[in-house]
Symmetry: none
Amino acid sequence: MPDKFKLINDMAVDNGSKIILLLLDGLGGVPWEPGGKTELEAASTPNMDALTSKASLGLSEVVAPGFSPGSGPGHLSLFGYDPLQNIIGRGVLEAMGIGFELEPQDVAIRCNFCTLDADGNISDRRAGRIPTEECVKRVEVLRTIKIPGVEIFVEPVKEYRFALVLRGEGLNSAIQETDPQRTGVPPLPIQALDPAAEKTAAILRQWWEKANILLANMPPANSCTMRGYAMDPGLPRFPEVYKIKSAAVAVYPMYKGVSRLVGMDVIEHGAETPAEEFEVVKEHWNNHDFFFVHIKKTDSYGEDGNFDAKVCVIEAVDQALPTLLDLQPDALVITGDHSTPSLLKRHSWHRVPVMIWADWARYGKAVKFGETSCGTGTLGLIRHVDIMPLALAHAKRLNKFGA
Amino acid sequence: MPDKFKLINDMAVDNGSKIILLLLDGLGGVPWEPGGKTELEAASTPNMDALTSKASLGLSEVVAPGFSPGSGPGHLSLFGYDPLQNIIGRGVLEAMGIGFELEPQDVAIRCNFCTLDADGNISDRRAGRIPTEECVKRVEVLRTIKIPGVEIFVEPVKEYRFALVLRGEGLNSAIQETDPQRTGVPPLPIQALDPAAEKTAAILRQWWEKANILLANMPPANSCTMRGYAMDPGLPRFPEVYKIKSAAVAVYPMYKGVSRLVGMDVIEHGAETPAEEFEVVKEHWNNHDFFFVHIKKTDSYGEDGNFDAKVCVIEAVDQALPTLLDLQPDALVITGDHSTPSLLKRHSWHRVPVMIWADWARYGKAVKFGETSCGTGTLGLIRHVDIMPLALAHAKRLNKFGA
């Protein structure tokens, strides 16, 4: 099989047409009760519904049937990267999310401040969810730690979370995570899972000992755990593969991280609501041809099991949608990175509704954007990795394949 | 994955049942306006519609989502050959289309007569679309060119197009195309793209110099460009893989070429209309068990953006269909090699409607053959490479897989 990115790159033309990929995190749902509606179906979405007359609807498989995708695979597949071939460690996403410029040999680690009791057992895995300013204070202390032969970066993320990055020769990320995922036991030891990671594990053991001494009198965050050791996999760059100047508008670091990982420009802004995010797109409309817009709260409320609040977020997106439509994109894709049914309170394996709105869409008969209409839509069943080629095709950005 | 052709060949039985594969080139479409119908849906097709009561309907992906197939990949996938693994140069299709018997080591080239101005720049890439008899006259002149160590064939195709075939030892097709795809500039140089093609490039440069001298006083076709350098890839032979005596009925050289490439018998005839082509099938009905019937004009009018004319061609096919039905084939497949929506005026990525009519089809509830009914048909979403196994199965030509 020839490389898919090579094929697409060969067909791609930069014709200046514009694409918006609007992602509602965890969009897909299931009915709250038999005979009922999903969150998307229960929401009043007059603007999206009006789009269906010039759109193709379908359901999309994010990874594989029965697989409930994490945020990393959910986004990578949406961007066209096979999520089974490209498994990205969380440390990389966390570091990139806060704007840290990772270098190819760096090992990035997602750390949590935690509370150790007098016996050295974890009494709180999140250190009482200390506020971000307390996190920053401790990070500054941790920055004083030096280990010969390696450069160390410590960066606050949010609340009890921070990122640790090691830079030097011969580092390796195959190391056991130290969070035991329960309390009343000590953190797991920092152990190499591969002989090639012995050096890195030794450095981290030294660092962790020093960190515990420095944090000893700073309860409740008097220690930390380490997870998601990872290196930048050096993915093909999205703007170059697809020949499109691309930008991401997201509120949360994780989604900025995955966008940066594939080489998109990440627009920094102070927006929080969907309406505010759409204004950011409008401000930057002339600078890019592809906009990835990430809406977080649909997923958050889904995970909380709050059906009505998830409906409200979808409605807020719909109300603000004219801001995007007024920009007259050549193609608009609305979908999710996975389903997060409120009934289930977690990411799920259910296929995700997707709408591609464009002059060249094969319109169907749907009058409402929802899982049921998508299930019989003219786009049919697709896979998330096919969304980008379809979006490019609908914006006339792909030439013919073969003579 | 075991070789698919081997698997199918192992299951295939020659039971004498008969299959017609009726291809309307560029059949798929999109509605001309929101809420409207596609060309196939707008056409009055009482005969095809009547077939739906004993047929399975579905939509077919020709290559991959978002990919707009060229004619080569469109037909190869329809014949069951993975279009991503079997990329066939246009020169081979062109040469085979005019009945030229290519040998395995030949390099075939698709040439266009063009007009060069006094400065050596191309002023017309198609030499004023000279009529075929002018093409023949110049081809006869070009046939006088001799180059030591290689046998050269020059064959007229149609209007300004001709085929050039080199036969000899150590030839290679990795050579840069010389058509700059625009006017006001000279043809691109004949350059090897691979060291193995240096010899071939040198021969072609000599040939082209001599050709320019001979054509100098024959304006407007006073030079030529070269494209689609290719060799016969030696594909598995269709009649042997599927164990079925196969024939192609087509009007245009390209489609005869791709049929010959896979080893079908190509029936020569003077038919032009769908009704006439169907009469050819009738005449040869007893000589073959598989008939590939190619209708060109649906695609031509789609590319012209002529919705109504495309509808007319579909209606003409439908009116003539009883000729084929009276032959009582065991299975009749009606589909396209890609979509060519009149709205888009080009080959497109939209899935192609497909109908398999047979006693053993899983009938559905459709009453009209069209993209919408196919989208919810009992055949579901299939891939073009699966059409042949399905056709064989419906004609009871495939035994059970495994014990």
